[in-house]
Symmetry: C2
Subunit: 234 residues, 2 copies
DNA sequence: CGCGGCCTTGATCGCACTCAATTCTAGTGG
DNA sequence: CCACTAGAATTGAGTGCGATCAAGGCCGCG
């Protein structure tokens, strides 16, 4: 079930120039006159938790900037088991591949209620003509995505279950308060690290018993990190 | 031990315009006058089997186009075990990440004696100013690299050892003659699929016993595919 | 011939998967 | 407020697959 609610903007100019995360996003380098030239609207899109922004193979005419929430990119394997390719956080770009292929290359599912800016490909093309710096920004986004993919292969998908879970926990640490961490469902964590959810659960609780983690809620999602060194050394 | 032998060109113009794989590479869209403007030479580089083109973290002032041979990108893990991130074949670009970070993001090692064209970043920048189409080509290269990384995570690094080896064999098939395949060392195959070399060896020979493969040499590298369906269905 | 590198094969062990039962929580409705 | 439910997390018991350790074979090469 897809439920997207586009909100038409009064005007791109005011909207984008006052964007709270503009320094993070594609338009960081652009100036006022660049925005004035736009002919196509940039809409805001809301996606509820668990809902899909797009699916693998969908025709794609836009890329998205994540303003609020968290998105997972998922590939469904022939045997039915899912594989999470990447997690996207605030400021990340979703659907870059549509710029090359006109199609999205994986499912995009909201892990939290999420807000995104929908940027039509025609807008990208318009802006790129007038401001070549956009190419630099775009390339940085491609690099980020590729580096993230490589890191997952080399770090998260390697070694014992204990090591994989430890490294995943460290990756999920809160960016503002590094002593706290918000985990995902055990099943999602397993789809990232190629482990069963039971194994993930066992390893997480082993860290709790060993004093590396202390649960902050009763749902197994929020923890505080008590012994970062233990997690690091593994 | 790094051994690179740069060969200075008489002139970029004649050299690049007559390149046998030009349709595959970055300059497919460029015309004569674009080349005439170049101030920096494009050199040819030879890398012997097992030798490194660059290492993880090296300062990088150029990207490379692979004209002959095969290159592996390798990340060395803290515990000493290597992880192969990607295989690059004729026409692929090596070292794209240096365009963004000025550094290479992994080791690049020749699996076969290889020939590459070394393209300084300054040349890319010059050409991009005069011919905006280069941006499109570059973006296609980023996409290819990212897709390859995602595929490895979702396909090669998933499921039983038997499935992983079957899918890897199918990926390594000869492009000209799909009934033949050239494997890598069992250790390299293990570093791709996250298996030990003993397990890879067992699975390969199991396919031979089952009649899916027939060895064409005595070193365990060249095989002919006798029952593709068996490999596919797994 | 001897040597070194790589591949193959065998035997054993342990980790993570599987199957299964239980607990816990949030949400719902009487 | 409590009963009930669905979904998620936890925990246990048993098994099997792939890792590990070890030995031997094959090939190219000096």
């Amino acid at each position: 079930m897809i439920q997207i609610q586009p909100l038409t903007n009064a005007g791109n100019l005011a909207h984008c120039q006052s964007c709270g995360i503009r320094h993070l996003v594609l338009f960081a380098n652009l100036v006022e006159k660049d925005f004035q030239a736009l002919h196509t609207p940039i809409d805001e899109v809301q996606v509820g938790q668990g809902e899909q922004l797009f699916r693998d193979g969908d025709n794609g005419q836009a890329i998205y900037t994540l303003r609020q929430g968290m998105i997972k990119l998922v590939k469904r394997n022939p045997d039915g088991r899912d594989r999470i390719l990447r997690l996207l956080r605030i400021g990340d770009v979703v659907g870059l591949e549509s710029m090359v292929t006109q199609h999205y290359g994986s499912d995009a599912v909201a892990l939290q209620p999420s807000t995104l800016c929908r940027i039509p490909l025609s807008v990208i093309q318009e802006l790129a003509l007038q401001n070549p710096k956009l190419h630099v920004t775009l390339m940085e986004r491609w690099y980020q995505a590729l580096k993230e993919a490589d890191d997952w292969l080399a770090e998260l998908n390697f070694g014992s279950a204990r090591k994989r879970v430890a490294r995943l926990i460290l990756r999920l640490r809160d960016r503002l308060d590094p002593t706290r961490v918000t985990l995902l469902s055990r099943e999602d964590m397993g789809s990232i690290s190629d482990l069963t959810f039971e194994t993930v659960s066992r390893e997480v609780n082993r860290f709790v018993r060993e004093g590396a983690l202390a649960p902050s809620d009763k749902m197994g999602r929020h923890y505080s990190i008590k012994n970062e060194a233990l997690l690091q050394e593994i």
